[in-house]
């Protein structure tokens, strides 16, 4: 009888609620690392939404590139900043498990959703009926959108050069 209620729509609304809660915690957070943790949960929730919308390729990209690469970049930068002098000063000291129980609960909700979706043959049948495969995306990317791909590669090159230039240590007597 539980299976009657857990349709694709309700699973989507649950993941959307998780995404909204996690995003609110990101925006209102005091501690940078905790906010990053909630941002990871928010991105994972959006990835589950993508999966339920019939875009598993985009969901995988969201997890790998956003939650895997960009957020790691954030964590490295936060470690370089040494935030002991900044906002962590104003944050309350950690009281046991209270600060990571929120992300754990949200992430476990997403995990339960994903396991339920993969386990249920009925839902799988519904999902595979209207999926946009990565093959279609690839054909489109290297067909009509080839110029956009080239421009994106230039954008990444510019980002690489700018990141190297701004973050390198000052040379002796160099100007900003």
């Amino acid at each position: 009888m539980l299976a009657n209620y857990l349709t694709i729509e309700t699973l989507f609304y649950l993941a959307a609620t998780v995404a909204i809660i996690a995003s609110l915690k990101v925006v209102t957070g005091k501690n940078t690392v905790h906010a990053l943790l909630y941002l990871v949960v928010s991105l994972l929730a959006v990835a589950v939404c993508f999966y339920l919308m019939g875009a598993p390729f985009a969901a995988g990209l969201e997890v790998i590139v956003y939650a895997g690469a960009i957020l790691v970049l954030f964590v490295f930068a936060v470690m370089m900043f040494g935030l002991t002098t900044d906002e962590t000063k104003h944050a309350p000291h950690s009281k046991g498990i209270s600060f990571w129980v929120g992300p754990i609960v949200l992430a476990m909700t997403l995990l339960a959703e994903l396991v339920w979706t993969i386990d249920s043959a009925h839902l799988q049948q519904q999902l595979t009926a209207n999926v946009v495969t990565s093959k279609q995306v690839g054909i489109l990317l290297y067909g009509p959108y080839l110029l956009a791909v080239e421009i994106a590669s230039f954008l990444l090159l510019a980002g690489l050069l700018a990141g190297y230039h701004y973050a390198k240590p000052d040379a002796r007597g160099a100007h900003l």
């Binding site: 349709t7 694709i8 729509e9 989507f12 609304y13 959307a16 995404a19 909204i20 995003s23 609110l24 990101v26 925006v27 957070g29 940078t32 906010a35 990053l36 941002l39 928010s42 991105l43 959006v46 939404c49 993508f50 919308m53 019939g54 875009a55 390729f57 985009a58 990209l61 969201e62 590139v65 956003y66 690469a69 960009i70 954030f74 930068a77 936060v78 370089m80 900043f81 900044d86 906002e87 519904q126 209207n130 946009v132 279609q136 995306v137 054909i139 489109l140 990317l141 956009a148 994106a152 954008l155 990444l156 980002g159 690489l160 700018a162 990141g163 701004y166 973050a167 000052d170 900003l176």
Partner: protein, 102 residues
């Protein structure tokens, strides 16, 4: 047509975009501003994927991939600028940049 109505996807996208926008205009710490920008870009991605799956076209996912590369480049440049800012002002407060006039 998918099971999820397009209006609800767009509603989720709007809510996420509004949350990110409020974060961008209300926070003082530049790191939080960058994180809120990520939330906003993500909301736009949700709208593209939702529209793409509603019409069963792959164009939405192509645009999402382009947004992904844009976000990666933006984060790299932004964090490098923040490292430079931390080195120079010893702070990540956006109001420290107030002297940059003209």
């Amino acid at each position: 047509m998918t099971n999820i109505p397009l209006e609800h996807v767009l509603f989720l996208s709007c809510i996420l975009f509004a949350i990110g926008f409020i974060g961008v205009i209300s926070r003082k710490n530049t790191l939080f501003i960058l994180m809120s920008l990520e939330v906003m870009l993500n909301a736009v991605g949700v709208a593209f994927i939702g529209a793409g799956s509603a019409w069963r076209q792959a164009d939405g996912q192509v645009m999402f991939i382009l947004i992904l590369t844009l976000a990666a480049a933006e984060v790299a440049v932004g964090l490098a600028l923040f490292i430079r800012m931390q080195r120079r002002y010893r702070s990540l407060d956006i109001d420290e940049l107030n002297e940059m006039r003209g």
